[in-house]
């Protein structure tokens, strides 16, 4: 069968940069799926996209749909054929419904019953017809986070659609959608190009290039990279590339030309983060660095056009940036005039959460949590003072103009302003650190003080939200509670503090919320939800460490109040599963556990009821193991804990070899079962061994 190439282009008003790539990918996916579903063979599809167009070129698209034989099962033959051998009403009805003549009905046996069948031949239809009929629905099915209407049209799309191109080989397919009929005419660059005819799909990219449009995303991206590195060489600069910004700029232009401008050197007195953020967020500029990584008073922007009048474009951009930086300097100077005490007071007027009071209230909760943790960790007096000061002012920068303008600078500005205000540099640094980790994979707070405040901040955010019934559901987590809980757990794993458990921290936070009157739900219920919520966040941390799934499940089913210890236990198990004797150990534990279930609750082991020497031996062994286990636990030494219980394994096996647990005498029996329960209780304090999978 012959084939042709297919070109599809949807011409739009400027698509928001952040959606361009995804929209093109979606078009490609849906079109490929549609072709398959319609039995139209094709070789491969390639997408193109600019702010003004989403396009796809599919190579080797079949001329026609493939033919299809369809067999539809009808009623059993005994119902379809009457006693005199003629067709019954049922058979006639079936044939009519299937659009075939009764005489064409066929019979076939299926599991001992003969049925009548309609066999239908579907001749493949021309692809051109299918495209014309099917594409509008395909376009309608494209999904965007935000769509709009325009003019009097009913169509919803990401931005108004202004033209369409649909070429099957050299033939125009006049698809109609959104009030537009597809043609072979596309539009070039808004200012440099013109409307032009695309003669065939394989001419698409070149036809656009002639009209100053680089249709290929990757080609535009690498063109920008190349221009930037050329500029680096010529000027002796470094231009660090923020990939997110590069993506955005790539999707803001159809024909990129990089150019640079300068700004007044005096602005370099502002913190680098302020300059970089102003350039990136407001203007989509790349900052420029000198050989030693110092910021230089230049910026690079990427214009949508050629190199005509670049000086004038640079001059315009310089003027805008100057005004922006003047604003930033104004904010900076004003912020420096605001005493930290005043800034903190202002937080008493900023609502944190409708039912959780102000940020001021939240700060006081965090401070009290930090204080109690610092006390338990036995921090020195000096450190306690520093961490309390940092906790008191950790969020003061939320009152500043700069953070109001650039929320992502919170922390950076806090540190900067605190230093300038003469705060202890450790305190200033802690303000920044308390934001870490800000996202999955971000650095953790390096210092103990930063870790304490970060932990308190995150725990309070989660606990307080749960207190008023706000919890993430499914994929919905608008307040980032999962991320925060994960951050808290990561900090605990990393720090490995042994004098305070996650459980305690949650309890302290809850107690404070309760005494402040914010807790709106039964405390025990909330506590339970919180413990399991934080537990769930341990899972990815363990996965990150390369721990096997079954081992993760095993340790998570046990005591998790010290996340670091959980990790250590998981590591011990990971090492053990490689050992020969491990399976034997676990079998011992399992035998004990399985039988223990048959025992009566609350029965204490009484050595007076022992009948056999083996019972006494096991009893003694359990006693010794429990003591060793306890010692290991108090030192948070997972290896010792494991060694303690593993010594039990041979004794357990020996016990089962020599003792019939299910004795006729009830007292004796229950005494033995109680002994086994003690073993299970002890062993479960390490992990739920029954979850471990042996190949």
């Amino acid at each position: 069968m012959t084939d042709r190439d297919l070109l599809l282009e949807i011409g739009c008003e400027e698509i928001p940069a952040r959606f361009v790539e995804g929209a093109a990918a979606q078009l490609s996916e849906k079109l490929s799926a549609w072709l398959k579903q319609n039995r139209i063979a094709f070789r491969f599809a390639r997408t193109y996209a600019t702010p003004r167009r989403l396009a796809i070129v599919v190579q080797g698209v079949a001329e026609k749909q493939t033919d299809m034989e369809e067999e539809v099962k009808g009623p059993p033959r005994r119902i379809a054929v009457s006693e005199d051998g003629g067709w019954t009403k049922a058979a006639e009805g079936f044939a009519r419904k299937q659009g075939i003549r009764v005489d064409d009905l066929q019979s076939k046996e299926l599991k001992g019953e003969t049925y009548i069948f309609a066999r239908k031949h579907h001749a493949g239809r021309p692809t051109v017809d299918l495209l014309r009929e099917g594409l509008p629905a395909l376009f309608e099915s494209l999904h965007f986070p935000k769509t709009m209407r325009w003019s009097s049209r009913r169509t919803r799309f990401i931005r108004p659609v202004r033209w369409m191109v649909c070429l099957f080989g050299e033939e125009t397919v006049p698809v109609e959608w959104a009030g537009i009929t597809a043609s072979n005419r596309t539009r070039g660059h808004r200012f440099l190009g013109e409307e032009t005819v695309v003669t065939a799909p394989d001419r698409y990219v070149d036809a656009l290039r002639d009209q100053w449009v680089v249709a290929d995303i990757e080609e535009r991206r690498s063109a920008i990279r190349k221009q930037l590195s050329q500029m680096e060489r010529e000027q002796g600069w470094r231009i660090p590339i923020d990939e997110g910004l590069l993506d955005e700029v790539t999707h803001l232009v159809e024909y990129p030309t990089a150019l640079y401008g300068s700004f007044d050197e005096s602005f370099l007195e502002l913190p680098a983060a302020v300059l970089i953020t102003t350039m990136r967020e407001h203007q989509r500029y790349f900052p420029v660095e000198g050989p030693d990584g110092e910021l230089l008073p230049y910026f690079v922007t990427v214009r949508n056009g050629d190199d005509t009048a670049l000086d004038q474009v640079a001059k315009g951009n310089e003027k805008v940036l100057d005004a922006r930086l003047a604003d930033a300097r104004f904010f900076y100077d004003e912020d420096l005039k605001l005493p930290i005490r005043k800034a903190v007071e202002k937080l008493d007027h900023v609502v944190y959460f409708e039912d959780l009071g102000t940020i001021g209230d939240q700060m006081r909760r965090i401070r009290s949590l930090v204080l109690q943790m610092a006390y338990r960790l036995g921090l020195e007096a000096g450190e306690v003072q520093q961490v309390l000061r940092a906790a008191e002012i950790a969020k003061f920068d939320l009152s500043t103009n700069m953070v109001d303008e650039f929320p992502e600078l919170s922390g950076v500005m806090g540190e900067e302003y605190a230093r300038k205000a003469g705060e202890d540099p450790v305190v200033a640094r802690t303000i920044l650190e308390h934001h870490y980790p800000r996202f999955s994979g971000d650095t953790l707070p390096p210092s103990t003080l930063g870790a304490l405040i970060s932990l308190a901040d995150k725990v309070d955010a989660v606990v307080s939200a749960f207190s008023i019934g706000i919890q993430p559901t499914g994929s919905q987590d608008p307040y980032g509670l999962r991320r925060r809980a994960a951050g808290a757990v990561q900090i605990l794993v990393e720090k490995g503090w042994t004098s305070i458990s996650l459980d305690d921290i949650i309890s302290i936070a809850l107690e404070r919320l309760d005494s402040d009157g914010w807790l709106k739900r039964p405390r025990e219920e909330v506590k339970k939800e919180l413990v399991s919520f934080f537990n769930m966040r341990l899972k990815p941390v363990l996965q990150e460490e390369g721990i096997r799934y079954d081992l993760i499940d095993a340790v998570l089913a046990s005591d998790t109040s010290f996340p670091r210890l959980v990790l250590e236990k998981a590591k011990v198990l990971s090492a053990q599963v490689e050992q020969e004797g491990f399976k034997h150990v676990v079998e011992g534990f399992s035998r004990a556990a399985n039988l223990a279930e048959k025992g009566k609750q609350g029965v204490q082991v009484n050595p007076d009821h022992f009948q056999e020497q083996a019972e006494q031996e096991l009893f003694n062994a359990v006693h010794t193991a429990a003591e060793a286990f306890q010692q290991g636990r108090s030192r948070h030494d997972a290896r010792r804990m494991y060694e303690a219980i593993s010594t039990l394994a041979p004794v357990i096996h020996d016990f089962f070899d020599r003792v019939l647990v299910m004795a006729d005498d009830e007292t004796v029996r229950h005494n033995r079962l109680a002994l086994l329960r003690r073993i299970d209780d002890l062993v479960s304090g390490f992990a739920a061994f029954k979850k471990i999978v042996f190949a």
Partner: protein, 294 residues
């Protein structure tokens, strides 16, 4: 090109594109969108094309005439076309050419910006238009006005006149802009800027403002009960401006803020609904004329 010429150019350009040239509305407002020529007329099925200059008051932006870019009152040139024409982007770019801006010698881009005015129950999708990195126009397809889905959709173009003028005239300080030969922007607006700033931040009487807000709101409701939408809308604008004055004065707490905005929104929604209802009662007269200005 001085500011007066700019305004004349834009008026003549949009007039030739079929727009009614309206005059600034005589009730205080924060943006040209709140002019009833936009807010109300963008509702309902009737075609409507209009252009006007709107002096827009934002008390909290007042800087006593001392800041080179921020002012209590700035000027917007506002265009509404309903339904939005299919070639509106090209037509808009034509208006920049009319201002002497040759796109080949500049970098003009449409950068996503979704506009929203919650107090007026209004939202739209569109862009900021960048001229060499500077936002010169807000380009919006209204989707919702006064809490109602609009149909047909209007396009709104809002030019920041001071910004474009400082670009064209290459001035750092808007008070140095030439309004017309021999008269600078500062000659006209410096004194009112200072006085309005001083009044808004230091002198206004919050107690009276709170009372006025209540009275304006009451009067708007009363007019709405009689289906008198235009008077009701005027009082809604009064409420909004009074709220802005209270906010500039720092007299409204965070919790109160939500409440006051909700009250303005409620009025705006009622006005929107009543407007459509009254136009329908009149038989949507401009629909019958076939939208002869489109």
């Amino acid at each position: 090109m001085n500011m007066q010429q700019m305004i004349l150019q834009l008026q003549s350009y949009w007039s030739s594109r079929g727009c009614v040239l309206a005059q600034p509305y005589d009730v205080e407002k924060g943006a040209g969108t709140m002019n009833p020529m936009t807010f109300l007329r963008s509702l309902g099925p009737e075609p409507w094309n209009v252009a006007y200059v709107e002096p827009s008051r934002r008390p909290a932006d007042g800087r006593y005439g001392e800041n080179p870019n921020r002012v209590y009152q700035h000027h917007q040139f506002q265009v509404i076309m309903k339904p939005s024409p299919d070639d509106i982007q090209e037509v808009y770019l034509g208006s920049l050419k009319a201002l002497g801006i040759n796109p080949l010698e500049h970098d003009i881009r449409f950068v996503e910006d979704n506009w929203e005015n919650p107090a007026m129950g209004a939202a739209g999708l569109g862009w900021e238009v960048w001229l060499d990195g500077m936002e010169v126009t807000q380009f919006t397809y209204f989707q919702q006005v006064g809490g109602l889905e609009v149909d047909p959709v209007s396009v709104e173009l809002t030019y920041g006149l001071e910004r474009i003028a400082s670009y064209i005239q290459d001035q750092e300080n808007i008070f140095d802009l030439i309004w017309v030969e021999g008269v600078r922007y500062g000659d006209i607006f410096k004194q009112p800027e200072y006085e309005h700033s001083k009044y808004s931040f230091e002198v206004s009487d919050p107690e009276k403002l709170f009372q006025w807000f209540d009275h304006y709101e009451e009067e708007a409701q009363r007019a709405l009960n009689e289906d008198l939408v235009f008077p009701a809308y005027d009082y809604t604008l009064k409420c909004s401006h009074t709220f802005n004055l209270l906010e500039a004065r720092g007299a409204i707490s965070v919790t109160e803020r939500t409440g006051y905005l909700g009250r303005v929104r409620h009025l705006a929604r009622r006005c929107a609904k009543t407007f459509v209802q009254e136009r329908e009662r009149l038989g949507f007269p401009m629909l019958k004329q076939g939208g002869d200005n489109s």
